[in-house]
Symmetry: C2
């Protein structure tokens, strides 16, 4: 834990830096002497017979945590007649599960495998940080999602694509950063929330990154994979689909024998070096990346070829569905980017090998503040898939704005697709519970970088923590997750906890209020995606339009007069979205082009809703700041100041958003605000 | 003449490259044997008594030209009794003047100084290239503008700010490029059109460029200055106003004694090395550059301090007037960037030392396709100044679009300011003829780079040529200048000459037609300034707005209801601009906010004018291409193809402009095109 911003490595962090760096693994000293003694009584001896590198890591974490929190280190023993914590692995339980019982001063941790031990230990440490009474330690846990993954978008030049927390701590100047302390601490943070898979390079694979699967970098990859595997995390690499051509072949056609041999050879070399290698992540035929389309092959042919190469070793191919025409003519009103993933992949349902897993982005457009869920989920029947979220706040304030994302993600997970009748929710589909896919789960783009607090905005740590906790158990509420994080990160002061909860809980809706309204999305500056620019994408090639004119705004995606995107949903949802009278307000402009005077279910007109939410959004940020200001003195100065600085900027930007959105629509509609507030002409 | 794109230096140019590289100094063999003999008869012996490095360069150019065109080299002699060309310097004539007479097979070139000799020689060479009959060689020429300057915006990293012809041929990787062949050929091209001053580094002076006036680079600067001085061109450097602080002083306050001493010392060192050094070019307190404002001093105090340092050596300080608030709040409707230069500098009229020269950008905003002229010209009475044009097509198609700029510039020069009553034209003010300033003239930002044809778009050579010729003699017509260039560059074929003339002459108006209408300007993508983006600057900090709403468009700069910018003009112009009924159509939206239904003098409404000009602009580009296509075979393939490729792109972009502008205003106004043409909704 010896890294800081800009310098990457120093011998000493300031005390303030340590608090930022440790994130939710603060392990601060327990001050309640009685509690401390109770803990010591049941944890001073740990009995465990099995051994593995993961169990070693778990015990090492337990020792660290207990030493820091309770000032003792447990004795580890294989003698089963000792008092204390008894760790056993019971094959009858599922993988990654653990079962903790507390009985007469004895604590039993029975796990399905060594990962279960690790998660059980993190559970214990979390309970101590949360000051949970010993009697309530008992729990039986199994992760809901089999694959719980993180995508790094790190480039080997040291940049992080869509990174808002400084440079990469994996790479610099086309080399792996030698000191892996930071990588190891990242693995600890991730595994403490239950993450079990990671891809370590950007899905846009450039020239140097193509070599990650070759001798040039393979030893470094192995070393990194070994660190993550200590913490039960499988390492994946993003690959360049055109890699064969970079290495002298004349084609990358997946049906070409030379290409097949190339990938089989690569798979063998990789697994000879890294037996626990996870597999490949592939962005193909997407935003100018190469793929099977070049050779007249479809995505199944493209993915299956790689899958065959990896199959002998148990490797997987994760294949992104973010495929659309990124050179659309803005004049073309027929093409609809929202349709693209479904149109490309649903016809291939059932054609993918069983070690191929599709990665489906939420939503159908691209990580906007509000979108309907991708209809591929609820559509595909016979295909493995992962749902893809983005923890990095690309379109949600780039970690300069405080936005708690778990409430947004939970709306997605709780969505009822009706695929198998009522109550076929996204969370049950992606977990594999409904369709019994061989592989399934959730993946997200990370939000970390070299900044000492990992996430740029200190409060964005909550999204990294919350993501892991939520995909472990999607039935945890947003509040519970936030409370866990707040207490572990800032302590238990009641007013502080409640104040921070009040700040984070409505923050997604606040951000939505002052940015793009009613599900229309975009309206940001092009390419870097920060700050308001209402027409920023309106006349460009990216398929992202709002069609605002003097009369109205919105995209007609209905069956009858629009792009027909609404038909990609099952009947109940299709009907709800397709009909302007039943379409939910928050998605109205995603599905319908309506006059500014259209009346929402809320009773307001569209234009008045725009004005009201934008004034409200700014007021909410002002309240956020008021709340946070009240914590002065209750949070250490460094963390307080760093958050406050970003909040001030958020307010400035919220006003920019408010005024630019309001002025834009006032100039177009000519309709005055019903409440006579200031709208610049 | 041995340089090409990307490689900077090669031993051999292809034949096609040579044609591109030689630009208007083709010196192609004269095919008319009779004419060749006449030339040889009067030019085979050149008598000249005086000598100087400039005269040497002139004679060397004459030898080169005659050898290439007429296959002989003149004998140079000091014997006055020989037949042939007699070169003399007559002190009674003005500086830089020359007088050529042809009398009974004798040619007399009498010049005011050695620069006059150089210009006279270029005149002779031009006449030969133009096939002018010997009897018509006689002429008496004096440059209208004393200072005829070029600004390079080259950075020492090798980039050219707003450069559209490849990288710099002055610098690469913070070093001067060792081989100066290209610089020397550039000096030849410039001096052949009469240029007599150049600043060789970007007005935005960064860290490394600050050192141009220090030991690190001074020898390189001297070497470059020596090359230019061979061709009668004074070398200037852009300086960093904060240089004293970069060198250890605690302030750059112009009234600080230490700062004064710093600059006096610098001046001494520079002139000890480069006695013919021109002086400093300064962008101060402009777009985040440092300047006297930081210390509570005004521009006169800031400039005079430098002027005092340079005065002992005859050096000049050229001080840019491009000073405005570049952090304007878009909500602020009081501040008007157009007013800024006048508001800043008119109150200082008479306070500048006589070796300070203000550099006044045309127009008051920033090199848009159409602006009124800066009212500082016509305003200042007791101050030296230069008018600044931009040959680089920053806002005029970036040398991907064919736009002949001389017609635009001539409109500026012919503008009547009424400063001293009727017929006080800009061209007479900037030349010093009216106010008798000690220093005056014209300056422009260059459009050259490492591309083999110098200017990226081959046809943009015409703007570099035309600029020089026009400021030598502002009474030359745009047609005459274009004809000179076409014949020297492509030869004399009558159809070819007429076709190219038909292409270039209307091209400025064509560009205006398909881009931003009626003097409103901007509507481009932010920062790189290429391609349409109607709201690109509308909600930003740069003071550049159009205020289009559902009812109308334009900026109210009237006295009564607007910013009052119109009051910066003398009465006749003020009245014309201030009154919506007399304001010229092409500037209407610069001065007035009017409804889309406002009727222009042309009889059309504003909205119909927008539609009509945008359809027309695209049609004109199509005609341009039709014309140029007819030249297939008449121009060598390489130059033909390079121009055609850019014309195709220009047509694509013209359509983008047309459709985006039309759609934008159709969506806002809701008014149909009277002719029912396709406007995308």
């Amino acid at each position: 834990m010896l890294l800081r911003n800009n310098e990457r490595l120093i011998d000493q962090l300031t005390e303030a830096d340590v608090l930022s760096y440790r994130a939710w693994l603060q392990y601060n000293p327990v001050k309640d002497e009685e509690y401390k003694q109770q803990i010591e009584a049941v944890l001073s001896v740990v009995t465990v017979k099995e051994t593995s590198i993961i169990i070693d890591a778990a015990l090492s974490e337990l020792s660290l945590g207990l030493k820091e929190m309770c000032a003792f280190q447990p004795a580890i023993t294989t003698q089963s007649n000792q008092n204390g914590l008894h760790i056993t692995i019971e094959d009858t339980q599922g993988k990654e599960t653990f079962h903790i019982t507390y009985d007469q001063s004895q604590l039993y941790l029975s796990a399905g495998d060594d990962r279960g031990v690790l998660y059980g230990v993190y559970h214990l440490l979390r309970q101590i940080q949360l000051k949970t009474p010993l009697e309530q330690f008992g729990v039986k846990e199994a992760p809901k999602n089999p694959i719980r993954m993180i995508n790094q978008w790190d480039d080997m030049n040291g940049e992080v694509e869509r990174g808002y927390a400084g440079k990469s701590f994996f790479y610099d100047q086309y080399q792996f950063i030698k000191d892996r302390t930071r990588v190891k601490d990242y693995a600890r943070l991730l595994s403490s929330t239950g993450i079990n898979a990671i891809s370590i390079n950007n899905v846009n694979v450039h020239e140097n990154e193509t070599d990650l699967i070759f001798d040039r970098y393979l030893a470094d990859v192995k070393q990194t994979a070994d660190i993550f595997s200590m913490y039960g995390i499988d390492l994946y690499l993003s690959i360049n689909y055109a890699a064969p051509m970079e290495k002298g072949l004349s084609t990358a056609d997946p049906l070409d024998d030379g290409v097949k041999a190339f990938w089989k050879d690569r798979a063998k070399v990789i697994y000879d070096n890294i037996p626990h290698f996870g597999g490949f992540l592939v962005k193909a035929d997407s935003e100018n990346r190469p793929g099977p389309f070049t050779y007249g092959r479809n995505h199944a042919e493209g993915a299956n070829m790689l899958a065959e190469a990896l199959a002998p070793y148990g490797g997987k191919v994760i294949w992104r569905c973010f495929v659309y025409n990124c050179k659309q003519d803005w004049r073309d009103r027929q093409t609809d980017r929202a349709r693209a993933a479904y149109d490309h992949f649903l016809p291939l349902d059932g054609e993918f090998l069983d070690n191929v897993i599709l990665q489906i982005k939420n939503g159908p457009m691209d990580f906007q503040v509000r979108e309907p869920i991708s209809p591929l989920i609820g559509g595909l029947e016979k295909t493995n898939y992962l749902l893809e979220f983005q923890i990095a706040q690309e379109y949600l304030g780039q970690q300069k704005h405080l936005v708690y994302l778990v409430p947004q993600w939970k709306e997605v997970l709780d969505f009822d697709t009706y695929q198998k009748g009522e109550d076929t929710r996204v969370k049950d589909l992606v977990s594999g519970n409904v369709l019994n896919q061989k592989h399934s789960g959730i993946v997200a783009v990370s939000n970390v970088g070299i900044d000492v607090n990992w996430t740029g905005h200190l409060m964005a740590q909550l999204n990294l923590y919350g993501y892991g906790r939520m995909i472990w158990n999607p039935d945890l509420s947003s509040e519970v997750i936030a409370l866990e994080w707040i207490k572990q990160t800032f302590g238990h002061d009641e007013a502080l906890v409640q104040t921070l909860l009040n700040i984070v809980m409505p923050s997604w809706e606040t951000y939505e209020n002052y940015t793009s309204p009613l599900g229309i999305g975009w309206m940001v500056n092009i390419s870097h995606h920060y700050g308001p620019n209402i027409d920023g994408y309106e006349y460009d090639k990216w398929g992202t339009y709002h069609f605002a004119d003097r009369d109205g705004v919105g995209v007609d995606r209905t069956k009858e007069t629009g792009s027909g995107y609404s038909t990609q949903y099952h009947k109940k949802n299709f009907e709800k979205y397709n009909d302007v009278t039943t379409c939910p307000d928050e998605l109205l402009l995603f599905f319908h082009h309506v006059p500014y005077t259209h009346q929402l279910h809320s009773g307001k007109t569209v234009i008045q809703h725009i004005y009201d939410t934008h004034f409200k959004g700014v007021e909410e940020v002002e309240q956020m700041i008021e709340h946070f200001t009240s914590l002065h003195g209750a949070i250490d100065e460094a963390r307080f100041d760093s958050v406050m600085e970003r909040l001030d900027h958020q307010l400035y930007m919220a006003k920019e958003w408010r005024d630019i959105v309001n002025t834009y629509f006032y100039r177009k509609s000519g309709i005055d605000d019903a409440h006579g507030r200031k709208i610049y002409a």
